[in-house]
Amino acid sequence: MDTQQILINLAAILAGAAPLIFATMGETITERAGVVNLSLDGKMLLSAMTGFAVGVHTQNVLLGFVAAAGVGMLVALVLCFVSLGLRLSQTAVGFVLALLCTDLSSFLGNSYVRVPGVAVPAMPIPVLQDLPILGKILFQHDLLIYASFLLVPLVWWFLFRTRAGLTLRALGERPTTAYARGVPVLPLQLFYVLLGGALVGIAGAAYTLDLKQGWSYRHIAGTGWIALAIVIFGGWNPWRVAFGCYLFGALQIFATRSQNLLPNIPTQIFQVAPFALMILILVLVNAGSNPTLQRWIEQLPAPLSKPVQQVLARLNTAAPAALGQPFRRP
């Protein structure tokens, strides 16, 4: 691989991970507010389909994204009604919604399969695109991908540097405390879950209107589950979550490229590799809190065990303490 190829690959990783960034940032916000939205996988498919269909009919990309965000919010609203309003298991509702939305996308998207549609236009940034190295990697994309670059610091800043972000995190840590301090817990949770839903919706449309430019049955099935796992890997911290997205993007690029480079290895290995890696990463992330694994590590030779322990301790981040537990007004 020459330098040129490396640059192209790097740019492809950044672009390929953009939808994941939107989805994971949406889910990070949702989970920081104390709600697990397990419906990601189906929701992304449904909004991908809707965004694409609206784009086809209106010939307007923006309207496509608006519709997709709307679908994301609508599904999030259903989740909120059942899990926050009626206080049923968020896992159960999320899972049902994931399946339901997947089938809905297949059923309603029937007539849009492999239809030509609209796409986000490329928009290299003048001047910056000519920068050596960085220009190629960062500045020859389109608006959506630039937005994904900005989204990560924005979400981080909001969560960790603003008054509203502090309140948001309190909702996920101990909603009763927030309530005792006069915060309207349920309306705020609803708001953030809807916001997260909108971002996930945009993520879905990012596939059909940008990255893959077209719709077919279940073509991004599995992505939503990966996104959920990346949020855990990232310890609910936007920077680390983004790192997870790019790591995953790199793996995908590597997989497609390697198929040509290493033809002897069956292609299925590469298709499955991300999921195997997902499990492995979750094992590592949880290793810090696992006594059995800790004992193994302690038995490693001293120069090895110390750094391993430190890395694992850093990886291990506690979930928001009240994640998944519906708030009940005292």
Binding site: R163, L166, T167, E173, R174, Y179, A180, R181, G182
Partner: protein, 502 residues
């Protein structure tokens, strides 16, 4: 700010927690609210703070009707409450907690919040470092933080619910000084307690609740103690727990229940190093110390739920250092945790089902009829207010505690009990101890942790004091006084009683 309460009523199901309460509190004073556990003090305060919603009645602040239908409304009206279990966010730093959900007008930015926190710390002689994670603060410091936060938010009526539970003597002194200073500034302080001496020390008036009703309204202090006790507990008067007769000394030849040889036990940041002691048969050992000084580590070590890092642990003379919890259970050791619903019992299951789960000999197929009969027997024997088919979660605290005792095996030789009577009323607490002493008489050794000095002194044969991860030697209870215990817990003169390592 003057507070007037008129006919305030709050019911939980069939329980009238507050029954037509009418009281009034003048501004610039500290008002004590006395009552035994379950008298309705906390409910009343939570109604004022908007944390609970009243069924009927009204509250006037400075003569104006106030809505107080949620905490936001109460805070806006100037009423703030420090809950018994401080309402804060353990994952945040002290400063973040101070800043979280504060009104923008009071604390416009984090920088201002930092200044204000430092300033309030100085003003009241409190010791909360802004960047300290909350998990590293003591209960007393978390309470200080809450008080400062409420003051920064402009609260005019400050409610404190049992603020002296779990704090050091020094913190208590600082707290009382701060409260007196606040009233000098015109704040109204409502001080909820069940401890007479504290109310006598601090308050200008006292109001007494019993079973959800007012039995004494803003009586000026001082009042004769006997009078207050009569109001709190009715004609029966105060139950002074009789000092229990000491256990007959075990024969010297008998094998101790537990023997610890140079044991170090650790969990997270907390560790208890180099512990050597032996606990004889048929005695009650009380563990005392500030919250999180290592009492729970020892309890769980003795129960086999936590393994020592170093050292040897013998149970009835057998080495169980690395044995699983099951082996401890098989040897007759049982552990009763403080949080019943967390890891004590299975809330959704009934007493019958619990008896099925704990029955030692059973076949493949369950015998429900048999277990029901057992449950009925247990309900009668332990005076549990339930049917065999009531899910335990719907029982009251005292009944849950008795149910947990009813599940103990008859062959229990070692019982580890974390906070046996926390949040129970006096009668329930006595009933629990009656059972426990009965077990002791049968030869069971009981080790319990408690924050209540009276309980520790009344029921223990031997005491172990924990201070900052260090443990005293076994101290005979009859030579101990509450004052001395308080000093030891705070580390005063601890070196004299400290166990000599090795």
């Amino acid at each position: 700010m003057d507070v007037q309460i008129r006919n305030l009523t709050k019911t939980f199901g069939s329980l009238r927690a507050n029954d037509a309460i009418s009281l009034s509190f003048a501004a610039g004073n500290i008002h004590g609210i006395l009552g035994e556990n379950g008298a309705g003090k906390s409910t009343l305060m939570k109604l004022l703070a908007g944390f609970l919603q009243r069924d009927s009645g009204e509250v006037l602040l400075d003569g104006q009707p106030a809505s107080l239908h949620n905490p936001a409304a109460s805070l806006a009206a100037g009423v703030g409450m420090v809950h018994q279990d401080p309402m804060d966010v353990p994952a945040f730093s002290a400063l973040e907690n101070f800043f979280c959900a504060s009104p923008r007008s009071a604390l416009p930015s984090l920088a201002v919040a930092r200044q204000r926190l430092t300033q309030l710390n100085q003003q009241f002689g409190f010791t909360v470092a802004p960047d300290q994670p909350l998990a590293r603060l003591t209960v007393g410091q978390r309470q200080q933080l809450e008080i400062m936060r409420l003051l920064a938010c402009g609260v005019k009526v400050l409610i404190l619910d049992e603020p002296t539970t779990g704090i050091t003597a020094a913190q208590k002194t600082a707290l009382f000084a701060a409260l007196r200073r606040l009233t000098a500034q015109g704040e109204t302080v409502l001080f909820v307690s069940h401890k007479l001496d504290e109310v006598a020390d601090l308050c200008q008036t006292v109001s007494i609740l019993r079973s959800g009703r007012v039995v004494g309204a803003q009586l000026p202090m001082p009042q004769p103690q006997a009078e207050l006790l009569k109001l709190m507990f009715g004609q029966a008067g105060a139950p002074a727990p009789p000092r229990q007769a000491a256990a007959p000394p075990a024969p010297a030849s008998a094998v101790p229940v537990w023997q610890l040889h140079q044991i170090t036990v650790r969990e997270g940041a907390l560790s208890v190093p180099n512990l050597t002691l032996s606990l004889p048969r048929g005695c009650v050992v009380g563990l005392c110390g500030l919250d999180g000084s290592g009492q729970q580590l020892l309890l769980r070590l003795l129960a086999g739920r936590l393994h020592p890092e170093r050292g040897r642990l013998l149970l009835h003379g057998t080495d169980v250092t690395r044995a699983p919890y099951r082996a401890f259970r098989a040897a007759g050791v049982e552990y009763l945790p403080a949080d019943r619903m967390h890891d004590g019992v299975i809330g959704a299951m009934t007493l019958t089902e619990h008896l099925l789960l704990t029955s030692e000999q059973h076949g493949l197929i369950i015998n429900r009829a048999d277990a029901r009969t057992q449950a009925e027997t247990a309900i009668a024997a332990y005076n549990i207010k339930a049917t065999p088919d009531t899910p335990l979660v719907s029982l009251s605290g005292g009944n849950q505690q008795r149910a947990m005792l009813a599940l103990l095996s008859a062959e229990c030789t070692g019982l580890l009990f974390d906070q046996p009577t926390r949040s129970l009323d006096v009668v329930s607490a006595r009933a629990i101890w009656q059972r426990l002493l009965h077990r002791r008489a049968a030869g069971t050794t009981i080790v319990f942790a408690s924050a209540d000095f009276d309980e520790l002194l009344a029921y223990s044969d031997l005491l172990l004091v924990f201070f900052a991860g260090r443990v005293s030697r076994l101290l005979p209870c009859p030579t101990m006084t509450a004052a001395r215990l308080a000093e030891l817990i705070g580390g005063v003169g601890f070196a004299e009683v400290a166990a000599h390592g090795g």
